[in-house]
């Protein structure tokens, strides 16, 4: 606490903090954003978005030469060197476990042995990290949430970034990056987040601002257009959404550990999505779940919108949620 106050009064030089920017890489788009502190808040210092042609033949987006061209363009435009990079949750594995120690280095070595019991990749082929969960702790054991990525995927991304003179400081699940942006700091309740992309919709269960569970359906924003006009295609997609929400609710509320951790009541559903009438979609979800449903505010952890107007249009801002969450990592 004293150290934190000391560094607030005497901040270390920017050169030494190795300030990093957010870099969100999706299948057809790459976004970059840098947030800087100003007047006790954060403001968008710079941001960009580069769309590129998706290559369906490639197993990894990082092998797409169009992505490399886009990154080179971005690198020319920005002076950034260090980046926090998002990784699609389809490539990742998340599991929650309990370890009989409090020491972080011991936790890591225990998890290394437990890794193969929980994920279908060998520990030598995996890159993993863990978060200590605040809830459900006791004197002897520590509850941790482990995120595992295939080493090959990470190394592909790293070599791509290094080839354009960018150094990754951290990798973050896209889901977690979105949660970092749209769930307010200090809100440790359980929530469900629905993130709608063009071709897929992801569902996240969040507790303590940490993504505990994710699932995905192959219907995107294109499928939910005219949801209020009883379009037959929209109705079909909406039913899939309703089923998925129902399934997640049942899973989450039944999934309670021996130490009474997990399964907390979901307080609200937050919807983040691009390219659709978000209010109509929220109304629809509220109707089928009878829960509080609200559209996301991607700037909630950046600053007060009454005193600062971000440079990105409201409808556009939803697609920047993940990159905002990544950029916020630098300021945490």
């Amino acid at each position: 606490m004293i150290l934190k106050n000391f560094f607030e009064i005497f901040p270390p030089p920017r050169f030494l903090t190795m300030a990093s920017v957010g870099l969100d890489i999706s299948d057809d788009c790459v976004r970059m954003m840098e947030l800087v502190s100003k007047n006790k808040g954060l403001i968008v210092d710079s941001y960009t978005e580069r769309k590129f042609e998706r290559s369906p033949n490639l197993s990894e987006v990082y092998e797409n030469p169009e992505l490399k061209k886009a990154l080179i363009d971005i690198k020319k435009e920005f002076k950034a060197k260090f980046v926090n990079v998002s990784v699609n949750e389809e490539h990742a594995y998340i599991f929650r476990t309990e370890v009989p120690t409090k020491d972080p280095s011991e936790i890591r070595s225990i998890l290394e042995f437990q890794l193969e019991e929980n994920v279908p990749i060998a520990s030598s082929e995996a890159v993993f990290d863990f978060r200590v969960l605040k809830s459900g702790q006791n004197i002897h054991n520590t509850h941790v949430l482990v995120t595992v990525l295939p080493k090959k995927s990470v190394e592909l991304c790293t070599s791509l970034l290094n080839s354009v003179s960018l150094i990754p400081v951290s990798f973050e699940l896209r889901a977690q990056a979105i949660v970092n942006a749209i769930i307010a700091k200090g809100d440790n309740e359980a929530h469900m987040v629905i993130n709608i992309d063009k071709q897929k919709t992801s569902f996240y269960i969040v507790h303590d601002r940490i993504v505990q569970f994710t699932s995905m359906i192959a219907f995107g924003s294109e499928s939910f257009k005219d949801i209020s006009k009883n379009n037959p295609e929209s109705t079909k997609s909406s039913d899939v959404v309703a089923d998925e929400i129902q399934r997640l609710y049942i899973y989450w509320h039944k999934h309670r550990t021996e130490n009474n951790y997990g399964g907390e009541e979901i307080q609200k559903i937050i919807v983040n999505g691009e390219g659709l009438q978000l209010n109509d979609f929220c109304e629809y979800v509220a109707l089928i779940t009878r829960s509080i449903v609200e559209p996301s505010n991607v700037w909630i952890n950046v600053g007060d919108l009454n005193s600062y107007v971000p440079p990105i249009h409201y409808e556009q801002s939803f697609s920047f949620a993940s990159v905002i969450g990544l950029a916020l990592k630098n300021n945490n």
């Binding site: 030089p13 050169f15 030494l16 190795m18 990784v87 890159v127 993993f128 990290d129 863990f130 978060r131 995120t147 990525l149 080493k151 990470v154 190394e155 790293t158 150094i167 990754p168 400081v169 951290s170 990798f171 973050e172 699940l173 977690q176 990592k329 945490n332």
Partner: protein
């Protein structure tokens, strides 16, 4: 906060941070050196000026002391010269030491000499005045007779009044010594 970095990337980041840390330390040291140099300029100027003043004062003191020492040397030389002159002149006339030796060798055991004074007279002769106490009259008479027998003493004058007492006689003998 998750990092999810492979070990190779962690090594790169550690190296980068170490390098930056070293650069920052050197920059701080350089900045400190520059600021310290800038801040020390007035003190340096003051000290060099003080040094000049002190050196000037030192030179002045050295100059004045050398003048004084020259004067002292001159004085010492002149004093020595005077003494040498005195000694040279004595050697030409009567040597007081020889006179004192003669007097002391003539002294019997009952005689105690209190003072002997030696005074040069004009014309090369000298006058010796002996004051003392004699235990008895005969010793005093013997002493005066022995002195009279000494060559070089032209006259030995013992006043008769000195022989008035038999014992513990306070006497005063005047000897006239001629030039060799």
């Amino acid at each position: 906060m998750l990092y999810l970095l492979p070990n190779s990337q962690k090594v790169i980041l550690n190296k980068e941070y170490t390098l930056r840390f070293i650069v920052v330390v050197f920059m701080f040291m350089f900045a400190t050196f520059l600021i310290a140099t800038f801040l020390l300029i007035p003190s340096y100027r003051l000290l060099t000026t003080t040094e000049d003043v002190i050196l000037e004062s030192k030179n002045m003191i050295l100059r004045s002391s050398s003048e004084k020492s020259n004067k002292n040397i001159s004085l010492a030389i002149s004093e020595t010269k005077g003494l040498l002159t005195l000694l040279t002149s004595e050697s030409e006339n009567i040597k007081s030491t020889e006179v004192f030796e003669k007097i002391l060798s003539s002294r019997p055991t009952g005689i105690r000499i209190n003072t002997i004074s030696f005074e040069e007279q004009k014309g090369g002769s000298s006058l010796v005045l002996i004051n003392g106490i004699s235990d008895n009259r005969s010793d005093l008479i013997n002493f005066s007779q022995t002195l009279r027998k000494e060559s070089g003493f032209s006259s030995v004058d013992l006043p008769i009044s000195n022989l008035a007492k038999d014992k513990d006689i306070v006497f005063s003998i005047t000897i006239k010594v001629n030039k060799k």
